[in-house]
């Protein structure tokens, strides 16, 4: 039986790692970061193993943990955390993503490595806290804390137009979260009006919100939804994404695409769906339509992209459109499928960006306008990339298939039209992903490349190890996707 200490443990370990990183010599930072994050991953899996590996959701429920720490009880400020079937997987994912991000070699280990590593661990802490939070204020604080390391990532190790990227990222996300904060205050004052007590604890507020008429929940609901729509992002709130992804250093991109976008997903599952069921029900059609349009629109943009990172950035939006489609189908099955697809997307996009970095290291750029034919020179690297591409087009037998299939299956019951529209994204996904792979890997070698591009080493054993780990997760998840659905 788990005790509540496991929660504090999971939260403090990354903080401890931040502190330790300041006394580790610069030359050892990468080793420290890799082993540290691997250790955290192992500990996270160990601490949550009761949930992760139990055969059914019912069995897993025995290991769910709720914890509430009083802070300023007069004002209802407390820190609430909940470890359940959803948050457990996201904890594991954030640790895994951190490991993948730390694994990459690059400028960040030469320029201010200490800052990089400590920011990475701090990000892990903030993410874990956000994934676990069941308290509005705790969630808000963690949600905002995630910004700090990300702004450093883009600002310190970013590419050419980092200033503009940081500005957009901050502006859009902050615009969303400030609305969310207002919505939170509204909810808290509703609680105060009903009970005379201040509380920001989700279960308390849920009790109150059940008796509040739908009309007065409309604006708070919209505030939350908008914040998450920007975070995920859904079209048309995705304007910040391309520039940030492209200008962020590769670990930053991995973090953003694999796990930061899931903050929105978790936010919807944890807060929006339970708090505003009637509001969502009312606008379900519109929400499903927005999700479906996200899928299609982003896929079309991806088809038009001529740069590897841009293309994957848009494909990320497209996949998350599917996730949101699942969540807005308003069934527990849909949410579970959404979680499954989130896990799938996190692992695949982590893998894609990871390998893309390897490609970039070898070819110098990720221009897709000319074929590079690199697969001849780097067969192992491109085999890995191909598996990632397959997972990304959700071929059956990979992790993403179960998610996408179940999402569409459940969404079909809610709206056949939106589902068919979104399913068109399956075709478009194949179009752009195959083009992506073809332009980088296939075709004649050396036509557009200086010769030295083709003589570097193929994937090193250490990198191969990481790829094998990720491929293992992708295949295992394709065979047994049920393990990810404990919500």
């Amino acid at each position: 039986m788990e005790t509540s200490s496991s929660l504090s443990f999971l939260l403090t370990i990354p903080l401890l790692a931040v502190v330790i990183s300041w006394v580790i010599p610069k030359a050892l930072q990468r080793i420290y970061a890799i082993f540290g994050s691997a250790l955290i991953l192992a500990l996270t899996v160990y601490e949550t193993s009761g949930i992760l590996f139990s055969s059914t959701t019912e069995a897993a429920k025995a290991y769910f943990v709720d914890q509430r720490l009083e802070w300023v009880s007069e004002l209802g400020l407390s820190a609430g955390f909940r470890l359940d079937g959803v948050s457990a997987w996201f904890l594991v994912l954030s640790a895994l993503t951190t490991l993948v991000a730390f694994y990459l070699r690059g400028i960040w280990y030469r320029k201010q490595p200490r800052l990089f590593v400590s920011m990475g661990f701090f990000l892990l802490f903030a993410l874990n806290s956000a994934f676990l939070a069941t308290d509005l204020i705790t969630f808000y604080l963690s949600y905002e804390a995630v910004f700090i390391p990300m702004i450093f990532m883009v600002g310190v190790w970013g590419e050419n137009q980092k200033a503009s990227a940081v500005f957009r990222f901050f502006l859009m996300s902050f615009a969303g979260s400030i609305l969310m904060l207002v919505a939170m205050f509204q909810l808290m004052s509703m609680h105060h009006a009903a009970t005379g007590q201040w509380s920001s604890h989700l279960p308390d507020i849920l009790k109150v919100v059940a008796n509040v008429p739908v009309e007065s929940l409309l604006w708070p609901g919209a505030g939350f939804l908008l914040a998450f729509a920007i975070k995920v992002p859904l079209v048309p709130f995705h304007g910040w994404l391309k520039e940030v992804y492209v200008n962020a250093p590769m670990p930053g991109t991995i973090w953003m695409s694999a796990i930061l976008s899931k903050l929105g997903v978790v936010g919807v599952i944890r807060f929006v769906l339970p708090l505003f069921p009637a509001v969502i029900k009312e606008y379900q059609g519109a929400l499903l339509a927005v999700s479906a349009v996200s899928v299609i629109y982003a896929a079309l943009l991806a088809i038009r992209s001529n740069e590897g990172k841009t293309l994957l950035a848009y494909s990320s939006i497209s996949h998350l459109g599917f996730v949101m489609l699942g969540l807005f189908s308003l069934s527990s099955e849909g949410s579970n499928a959404g979680v499954l697809l989130s896990v799938g997307h996190a692992v695949t996009s982590g893998m894609l960006f990871y390998l893309l970095h390897q490609v970039e290291e070898r070819s110098g750029n990720l221009d897709l306008t000319t074929s590079k034919g690199l697969a001849t020179a780097y067969p192992v690297l491109f085999s890995g990339l191909f598996i990632a591409v397959l997972a990304s087009v959700s071929l059956p037998g990979t992790l993403n298939f179960g998610g996408e299939f179940l999402v569409l299956l459940n969404a079909y019951r809610a709206s056949a039209l939106c589902t068919i529209l979104a399913a068109l994204g399956v075709i478009l996904g194949a179009v752009y992903m195959l083009r992506f792979f073809q332009r980088l890997g296939l075709g004649k070698t050396g036509t557009a490349n200086p010769v030295d591009v083709l003589v570097k080493k193929d994937l090193s054993l250490a990198d191969l190890l990481m790829v094998v780990l990720l491929v293992g997760i992708v295949i295992y998840g394709g065979i047994n996707p049920g393990i990810f659905m404990k919500g």
């Binding site: 079209v235 099955e333 298939f401 399956v426 004649k444 994937l459």
Partner: protein, 605 residues
């Protein structure tokens, strides 16, 4: 036994795949002989398993093997299970049997290719996926196989990936298949919605409301048109000839492209519920048979002729399914697998013998040079023409018969198919005549160097030749629900008519191409379908994508700029207050305090 049937190819795939990856990393080469032997052994073992499994099937019914729970969510649970009955057994025998021969053939065909290990890994992967398709006990599992064979097909079409054209052909195949897969997906959703399960046994029995039933059938058929290259989506198959010839024989003639027929036959109880859907299937099948037969008459590439011929023959099968004669369709799948695989392998042998020459107008007179190939090709030729007692005769005759006499059949359908049969005889004889008879139309040196293929390649040819000759006597392999007959035209009348039709086509071709100086005909894309498609879809997609790009750059990014401008403006406004004097800040603080006290403590103070 059933499990081991699918595990053998999987093992072959894993071994060959890992080995070739490992050696690619180390810069060494995989021996084609060893890896080919591993792959072939796996397929032979699978074939044995398929034969033994066949013996275990009860007279009516099926064997089911539950492997593991794949996924479950809410009321839905999908098991990974294998289901073998008469229908799937036929397919497994064809896949593993013909597959084993083609593997054997490949060992020698691919001997000089440096990526042979990869090739055999893909080939085994294909067989594994194809077996999943036909043995799958649930729709998602069939879908797994369905997409899996598409993947293997993509990999093998673009096997020589340094040529952009090959890669493009592979992509075209994959994407067109995906369009079909969309139909499969949505059909699954409909099936689940109305039957509450994705088990084939349940979905087969489901009774759908009229309109839904039709859309279900049409969606399933959309999937079939993608995979089996039927009318709207057939253009990928001729391009798919970019792959190695044994691949064309196995995937794009004998097995994968027939999976559409399998799916229709498998779901025949549901499919038959919708008369409209059936009519569409029959119509499109017949139209495909005719149109692609016409196109085949204008091709110069030996493989392209066979490819269009395959599409045309698949059209026959779908026409059969469309009139309710699923058994006849499956029968034709089997015989077609024998003779078309044979024709492709023989063509491969010709190409191999001529060192890569594929243009039939640059061949001729090869009868003497390639005797084994010639005689086996003759068997295949006779079979596709439907000359008795070759296998094609039985199945094609059955299809023509059903097209005329069954309830949903008609004279029109029969007529179209008969014309297609005449054309089939014409283009096949044209090919046969131009390749093997007459005077050689190539360099003397090349002709002199032409050589018969080695034993590993010849052996499968002979075996398939025997099957093409005798396979028809097996009779209709499965007894699916037979359509009710409206007419009572006796079978023998049809037999005579179809043989006469074949004879007419063959005679015209023989006479036309028997002149001493054969004039080279230009290749012609008669209906310009490919060009229209690339205009329509390529162009259409381009326009939509450009539109969204415009929207993105102008509207979405404009929105961001607007937000930025507003922030800037309000920043400037607030800046006025930032006078930089601590006392002014203090004053503001107190003003704010006073206002807040006024606001919050109105009642108290």
């Amino acid at each position: 036994m059933i499990t081991s049937m699918i595990l053998f190819p999987l093992a072959g795939f894993v071994i060959n795949g890992a080995w070739s990856l490992w050696s690619a990393r180390n810069g060494t080469r995989v021996s084609p002989r060893v890896s080919g032997s591993i792959a072939t052994t796996a397929m032979v073992a699978a074939f044995m398993a398929a034969i033994m499994a066949r013996a275990q099937i009860p007279a009516t019914g099926s064997i089911e093997v539950d492997c593991f729970r794949w996924f479950s969510l809410g009321s839905l649970s999908v098991d990974f299970k294998l289901r073998l009955d008469a229908l799937s057994s036929i397919f497994t025998l064809v896949i593993t049997g013909v597959g084993a021969m083609i593997h054997l053939y490949s060992v020698s065909y691919m001997e000089e290719d440096e990526a042979a290990g990869k090739y055999f890994a893909y080939l085994n992967l294909f067989c594994f996926m194809m077996l999943n398709l036909v043995l799958g006990g649930t729709l998602p599992q069939v879908f797994l196989g369905w997409e899996g064979v598409g993947l293997a097909s993509y990999l093998l079409i673009g096997f020589w990936y340094r040529e952009e054209a090959n890669v493009a052909a592979g992509q075209k195949a994959f994407i067109m298949n995906r369009i079909g897969d969309l139909g499969f997906l949505i059909a699954m959703f409909i099936g689940y919605k109305y039957s509450g399960s994705l088990d084939l046994t349940t979905v087969e029995k489901v009774i759908l409301p009229a309109g839904v039933g039709t859309s279900f059938v049409l969606l399933i058929f959309l999937a079939c048109t993608g995979k089996s290259a039927q009318l709207p989506l057939f253009t990928w198959l001729p391009d798919a000839m970019a792959g190695p010839t044994p691949v064309s024989a196995l995937i794009h003639a004998a097995t994968m492209v027939t999976s559409g027929v399998y799916l229709l036959a498998r779901l025949s109880p549901v499919i038959s519920q919708s008369a409209t859907g059936m009519a569409v299937i029959a119509g499109i099948g017949a139209a495909t048979a005719l149109i692609t037969a016409i196109i085949a008459c204008f091709q110069r590439d030996i493989k392209k002729v066979l490819a269009y011929s395959t599409v045309s023959q698949l059209g026959f099968m779908f026409a059969a399914c469309g009139v309710g004669a699923f058994g006849a369709g499956v029968f034709h799948v089997m015989t077609h697998a024998f003779f078309k695989a044979l024709l492709f392998l023989a063509a491969g042998s010709v190409i191999h013998g001529l060192h890569g020459e594929q243009d039939i107008f640059k061949m001729g007179g090869l009868k003497k040079k390639l005797p084994v190939t010639f005689w086996t090709f003759t068997a295949g030729w006779a079979a596709i023409l439907g000359l008795p007692p070759f296998s094609g005769f039985f199945s094609k005759d059955e299809i023509l018969h059903q097209a005329l006499v069954s309830n949903s059949g008609s004279a029109w359908l029969f007529g179209v198919l008969l014309i297609a049969a005449v054309l089939t005889a014409f283009y096949m004889t044209r090919l046969y005549r131009l390749v093997f008879f007459g005077t050689p139309r190539m360099d003397q040196a090349k002709f002199d160097h032409a050589h018969e293929s080695p034993v590993p390649m010849a052996l499968p040819l002979v075996l398939l030749g025997v099957l093409s000759l005798a396979g028809g006597f097996a009779g209709e392999p499965v007894h699916l629900a037979h359509p009710e007959s409206a007419l009572s035209t006796p079978t023998w009348v049809i037999m005579i008519v179809s043989v006469i039709a074949a004879a007419i086509g063959a005679t015209i071709a023989f006479r036309r191409y028997s002149v001493s100086e054969v004039k080279a005909e230009p290749t012609s894309d008669v209906f310009r379908i490919d060009a229209v498609y690339s205009k329509l879809f390529g162009g259409g997609l381009g326009v939509i994508a450009s539109a969204s790009q415009w929207l993105e750059e102008r509207v979405v990014q404009g929105m961001i700029r607007m937000v930025a401008a507003v922030t800037d403006l309000s920043g400037n406004m607030i800046r006025v207050l930032q006078v930089g004097s601590a006392q002014a800040y203090l004053l503001m603080m107190i003003i704010a305090l006073v206002v807040m006290v006024f606001y919050f403590m109105k009642g108290v103070v």
